[in-house]
Symmetry: C2
Subunit: 207 residues, 2 copies
């Protein structure tokens, strides 16, 4: 049995912060890990922006409640869960992800926690650990699972490197150029085929 | 966010081997980890029995297809998945578990693989690793999740010991007597309450 680790935003659901940026009219919130590989820097920048515009958790949750999984994502994920064990590895926060997880029928999600004040102000964020995506892949391999990982951006590349097989899904050109070793997929059909090909290689290798 | 690790048989679904024993009329197949704590010994005994009675995988899968989750199990699991990350840790096999996982809406399952011949004969079994339940709990804690584990039998006690909080669910008296340190629950309402109490303690401790 193979474990498939998937990134969340950009792979199964829209980029949360980009949508928050659009609905709140704060274009600077469009910045993602695709633009800024230093995640701590990016989050500090975001929380400062929210503070300056007096945006609290309920307003952001409302935006996220209105998002739907990407076209075909639910069908892809259902297909995957029938054949593999799936763990979603994301650098989002459980507070943000909850409505999306419901729409995806509650797959297992490893991510982080926000620190929210009683009045809804997002005071801080708590990374569960540094580079939890890579650490989680290593932990799954340590309990003897072969791991296939798929993601779209900079913050996925360490988990792709730690996995037995890494796959890029709709990556920006910069990531494709910097990480030419991973197959690039642009549709769920292509991702399905890449996952099955990777599974075939792992099973061929006696895993 | 807390990860809840649950045993499968006896906690969410009926004991598979007991049901196979009943429907095939081979009473010796009723033996479980509740009776024989040495899992290797138990499995060798089972596979020998299947061979002697010429029982193959499709016949066993047919029996399992007819099983349903325990009364209230699906509602309990749905409740749990809305509030926690859930990983099912079982010493069953993916081949056996598949129809039950569908009925449980595909939670993440860590278990083992059978070695099946083209004619359906179960030739052997491959434990993914020794004491995978305990190792999986340790791996989850290593990626900074507090872990609550719940199970019913001998083969769950090492995962209960490795977890931050351990809970027994409908255990036999022998296990209760040998492991008095764990709270004993007998219904899903009691298990829900015990999980929430454990979560409260973990969060109180700043986890």
């Amino acid at each position: 049995m193979v474990v498939v680790c998937l990134d969340l935003e950009g792979v199964l659901v829209p980029e949360v912060w980009i949508n928050v940026a659009e609905r709140t009219g704060i274009p600077e919130l469009r910045r993602t890990t695709r633009d800024e590989p230093d995640y701590d820097k990016l989050m500090r920048f975001r929380l400062d922006l929210l503070d300056r515009h007096n945006l609290r958790l309920p307003q952001i949750t409302e935006v996220i409640d209105g998002l739907e999984p990407l076209d075909g994502a639910l069908e892809f994920l259902d297909w995957l869960r029938e054949r593999f064990q799936v763990v979603i590895l994301s650098d989002t926060y459980y507070d943000f992800a909850r409505p999306l997880m419901r729409k995806l029928r509650y797959p297992t999600l490893f991510c982080h926690n926000l620190v929210v004040a009683p009045d809804g102000r997002i005071e801080d964020y708590r990374l569960r650990m540094r580079d939890q995506k890579q650490a989680s892949v290593i932990a799954l391999r340590a309990v003897h699972f072969p791991v296939i990982a798929a993601g779209d951006s900079y913050n996925d590349t360490t988990m792709l490197a730690a996995a037995d097989e890494g796959i890029l899904f709709r990556p920006p050109d910069t990531v494709v150029a910097e990480f030419p070793q991973y197959p690039v997929t642009r549709s769920y059909d292509e991702l399905r085929a890449a996952v099955l090909a990777a599974q075939g290689r792992l099973e061929g290798a006696g895993r």
